[in-house]
């Protein structure tokens, strides 16, 4: 433990005061603040995280409810997007997790839509990226991990442990492989959540770093071009990370529903 342990906000204040430093700290945008007043953040405080999560859910409802309200044969643009998203995820669950896992399609669809909308809303200027917090992504990743474990044991009983015992490997290697498999199984929720949070946090911090450089006259044209380019990259990364989260959920579900002794 460092003796002068400082919080991010103190670091941010310090960065503002330094001569020649950044105008604002790039990690400022990830501070969780109460929406009303300046009190401490408790379990039931309405914060900016609450606001942006609610907006995410509202956007998903708007897309799916309003988009599919008319049910036109020739779909409108909103309806096309809703249908494309549905078909895209349905095909992914079917291809990656297999036919038996199709009953988990609503879960994967919910996770994908929530993450993709949270990521895209986080790209709006002055907004807050809820998925950049490990607290948010860890809940989703732990949920998937517990679900996979419970479904695996419920479907196969103790035979589920067979996923750690790779019968195609030479006998002498199997205990070593079993150890590696057990470790990689329990590291799953960690990597699953940190991948999303880390990508979002790093990408948005990079945008903010270049945004701070835009105030320095000598390099501002370069900084503005760089922000534009990195923003385009972030739009791509936002989608790909939601896709990766959903596809890994499918991969994990495949372990649970398919025969462990294949």
């Amino acid at each position: 433990m460092r003796p002068d342990k400082r919080r991010t906000s103190d670091l941010a204040d310090e960065a503002k005061g330094e001569e020649g430093g950044l105008v604002f700290h790039p990690m400022d945008q990830f501070l969780v603040k109460p929406l009303f007043g300046d009190g401490p953040v408790g379990m039931f405080t309405i914060t900016n995280v609450t606001l942006w999560m609610a907006l995410t859910v509202l956007c998903i409802i708007a897309l799916l409810v309003l988009g599919t309200r008319s049910r036109a044969i020739i779909p409108s643009r909103t309806q096309s997007v809703a249908e494309l998203a549905y078909g895209f995820i349905f095909k992914m669950v079917e291809d990656v997790a297999g036919k038996e896992a199709i009953k988990f399609f609503p879960l994967v669809m919910t996770l994908f839509l929530f993450i993709v909308f949270a990521n895209f809303l986080g790209l709006l200027p002055m907004s807050f990226t809820t998925t950049s917090h490990i607290a948010v992504t860890a809940v989703m990743a732990m949920g998937v991990f517990l679900l996979v474990t419970l479904v695996g044991f419920w479907k196969h009983g103790l035979g589920f442990l067979g996923i750690f015992w790779i019968s195609s490997a030479p006998l002498i290697l199997r205990p070593i492989l079993a150890l590696i498999e057990v470790i990689s199984y329990f590291v799953r929720p960690l990597s699953h959540s940190i991948r999303l949070a880390g990508n979002m946090m790093a990408g948005h911090a990079v945008i903010k770093v270049f945004a701070a450089f835009a105030a320095v006259l000598a390099i501002s044209p370069f900084a503005i071009v760089a922000i534009t380019a990195i923003y385009a990259l972030e739009v791509l990364v936002s989608f790909i990370q939601a896709y990766v989260f959903a596809i890994l959920t499918c991969v994990y579900l495949k372990d649970a529903v398919s025969d462990p002794h294949h």
């Binding site: 433990m1 460092r2 003796p3 002068d4 991010t8 992914m92 291809d95 990656v96 990597s191 940190i194 991948r195 880390g198 990508n199 790093a202 790909i240 896709y243 990766v244 596809i247 890994l248 991969v251």
Partner: protein, 78 residues
Amino acid sequence: MEGDIVQMGAYVGAGLACTGMGGAAVGVGHVVGNFLSGALRNPSAAAGQTATMFIGIAFAEALGIFSFLVALLLMFAV
């Protein structure tokens, strides 16, 4: 004075931890490069394997993200 050395160590460690991201970059590049060379040999089979490529990217990237996490922990938590 003692505290300063600890802090310096934490910052140097955070910088060193970031070299792990280079390894993740090599890994992701290797996955995509091999996918592309395979896809150009047999373009008809490529479309069905993009999901596998993304899974490979995700696993290669996870370890780079771990090094980023170590850097963040050293910066803000230790």
